[in-house]
Amino acid sequence: MGDHSHGGPNDSGTVAKAGPASLEKFQDPGLPPHRKRLADTYPRAEKRAERQVAWLFVISIIGTLSFFIAYFVIGRTDSISALRTQNMLLGLGTAFAMLGIGVGIVHWAKTLMPDHEVSESRHEIRPEADRQDAAKIIGDVIEETGIKRRPLIRNTVIGAIALAPIPAIFMFRDLDRTGASANQIVDRLRYTMWDKDVKLVRDPSGTPIKASDVQIGSVFHVIPEGLSEAEHPLNEKAKAVVLLMRLDPSKMNISPGRENWHYNGIVAYSKICTHVGCPVALYEQQTHHLLCPCHQSTFDLTQECKVIFGPAGHALPQLPITVDSEGFLVAQSDFTEPVGPSYWERG
């Protein structure tokens, strides 16, 4: 197979090339002769095929009837298993109803309808005579509008038609239903419901959390108090959800300025992934890693949720917390940077 002895500087020679001398090709032998089917030759085979097609249509009718049984006899289901049975029978009934017709018609075509292959010639898609006629017509039409001789009309009509659709684009400005200005649209991404003395409460029950409740290795899913009374609770929740965990303070690497953001090792971080916004919900207590299930961004809790794997581009924002006079955990302020995915104006 690897014979290179016929090669030259520009080709390997192992691959065959039809040389210039043998450019002729094999002649087209034409359509192969038609072979008869059993049903074409033997009347008994033909009758059998007919019966098979008929039986297939009968199966279809049975299928349709089964559908009605599933729908009316099983009727309104009162349990999941009854619903599963009904779904299965509706499926079987429809399947037989449809397949009976389909397989029946195809079997009819294959066995009984004539199966001679026929050749039909292709027409030119665009005969030259048509092209000339069309070209002449278009020429006449353009000439009769006179646009070539009237540049003033041409320029002004182009100007008018180009400008006319532009209002349609601006009609969509109020797709943002909040009535916010352009600045407000960008600005509101910076602020969440968190503020000084807002209690950290459990999601979704809304009960406040005492510092003594949080042990090392636990994770609390947290929302700000008063979320359910907000005007748009889900919108607020989409920025304000927080994860609360506790670390051994000796294991924490705290950057300057954040020394009092935690309380005895209890830390709170935004739950919104800084990649594209999924909840970073998986906490591996022994490795102190937070994992986002959507694209596997991984954050290290002992390094202030720095990104250690995956597509996220920056660390999870930290919520500064402390306790109030009764021992409940409260925020000290809002987040000091925008939460969630990055955007152009984030800075």
Binding site: K17, V103, D115, R173, H232, H275, C294, G310, A312, Y343
Partner: protein, 556 residues
Amino acid sequence: MSTATEFRAKTRTGRIADFVDQRVGGSMMVKEFGRKIFPDHWSFMFGEVALYTFVILLISGTFLTFFFDPSMAETHYDGSYNPLRGVEMSVAYASSLDISFDVRGGLFMRQVHHWSALLFVASVSVHMLRVFFTGAFRKPRELNWVVGGVLLVLSMAAGFTGYSLPDDLLSGNGLRIIDGVIKAIPVVGTYISAFLFGGEFPGNAIIGRLYMLHIMLVPALILLMVAIHLFMVVVHKHTQYPGPGRTEDNVVGFPVGPVYAAKAGGFFFIVFGVIALISGFFTINPIWNYGPYDPSPVSAGTQPDWYIGWVDGALRLMPGVLGNFSFEWIIPFPWGNNTLVLNVLLPALVPAIVLLGLMFTWLWIERWVTRDNREHHILDRPRNAPFRTAVGVAGVIFYSVMWAAASSDLIATHFHVALNDVTYWLRVLFFAGPVIGFIVTRRLCLALQRKDRDIVLHGREAGIIEMSPEGAFSERHEPLDEYKRYRLVSFESHDVIPAQPNAAGHITGAEKRRGALSRFFFEDRVAPVTPAELAEAHAHHGPAAVESGEKAQIGH
């Protein structure tokens, strides 16, 4: 002007048909289409599967619109699914639960609709790959290929808007991800996000807006594109595989009436039946398990429907930070800093631009390199276009690596490998996979072509061992009949066209590049056997020796 003999119908059907025909001119259509010839091959049927699944989507979708309510207003569930009783949720989610549990046949129709959607995009994709690998996109079908590409994108849009409608946790997190990607767009991203969601995410407008897109705008565009697509198929007539009796100037097959129409029409019922069977026995999109959308919970194994998987996979593969270097670039401007979110923009845009760009422009690349502007109605067997096939396989591998990356966490749990390792391996395959695939595929095609030559020159191995009088053993080969042989030799093997001077005698830079590409594409090629070569093979070895299978030296 009335003719001397006016037609009078004899039967009642005839009279009705005559009434309509005199007013719409149906006779002309019957003349044109009634016995039109269509070629018959199973690989031509994927377009039909796509069309029929679309019809099933329209039928099942219409049923669902009678029961679905796209409102995002808050409600408490009081239907019959016990584990969600009393739970707060949107009306959209509640109405989807009602369809599943409290409308007879509702769950079945939801499943028919969703399974059909998966099959719709799958069949459009397989159809597109068939057209690509057989070269059916060449003149005069380039515009139809572009229309098909648009249909592929529209089908994905229809699917995405559709599965987001129930407002469940899984699709809602998908919308959250889309919002994050949109926000990453420079300058206008935050505004587009606000306009799309009617305010901040999630707002209470998005489901209603997606509903409009899903039941009105996208289906209308799909119908328009399908009409153009089918119209062009009728004008161009269908392509056909090479074979005896088939030329560039004819179509060989069966007439529309009755055989082709019967098979095509019957196939619609078959597709419907298969979908119904699957929908009766296999659960799809169990929204009751996911719960209503809420920005706080998330399920392990959060993936979009399969056709959006490649985008999700690209997002997963891109690293966000390398050591202390972050792919979020903070750019200082006079007015302050702006962030270019490359870790999101690159995976969202670059693979899409590469794949879609290559898909839409390949026709013109091939035309330019081969300088072949003739009409082609005979298809290529993929092995006979090794370069195109190899490029296609490389593209499929590129797509599939991203597709696999979307299920990285499931690969990890099912094959007991570490999640991080799956990501590392796929990052390597993202670059190496297409290259390896290209090389291997091209060699495979060339090898298959050589095998075909071998069969033509020496016949098929018959499995019968014969002993010669001298005591030598050999296997009998039976030569091919002229019909089978014609199929194996009636293809064109493009040759290298080196850079040619233009009319002024000057070889332009573009022409030099084309020449170089032409050599890269076609330097290794296998030509079809010619009658002279076959005669030579017979003469060289004698007919008996030919049949006893001595290997002929190729190129002798």
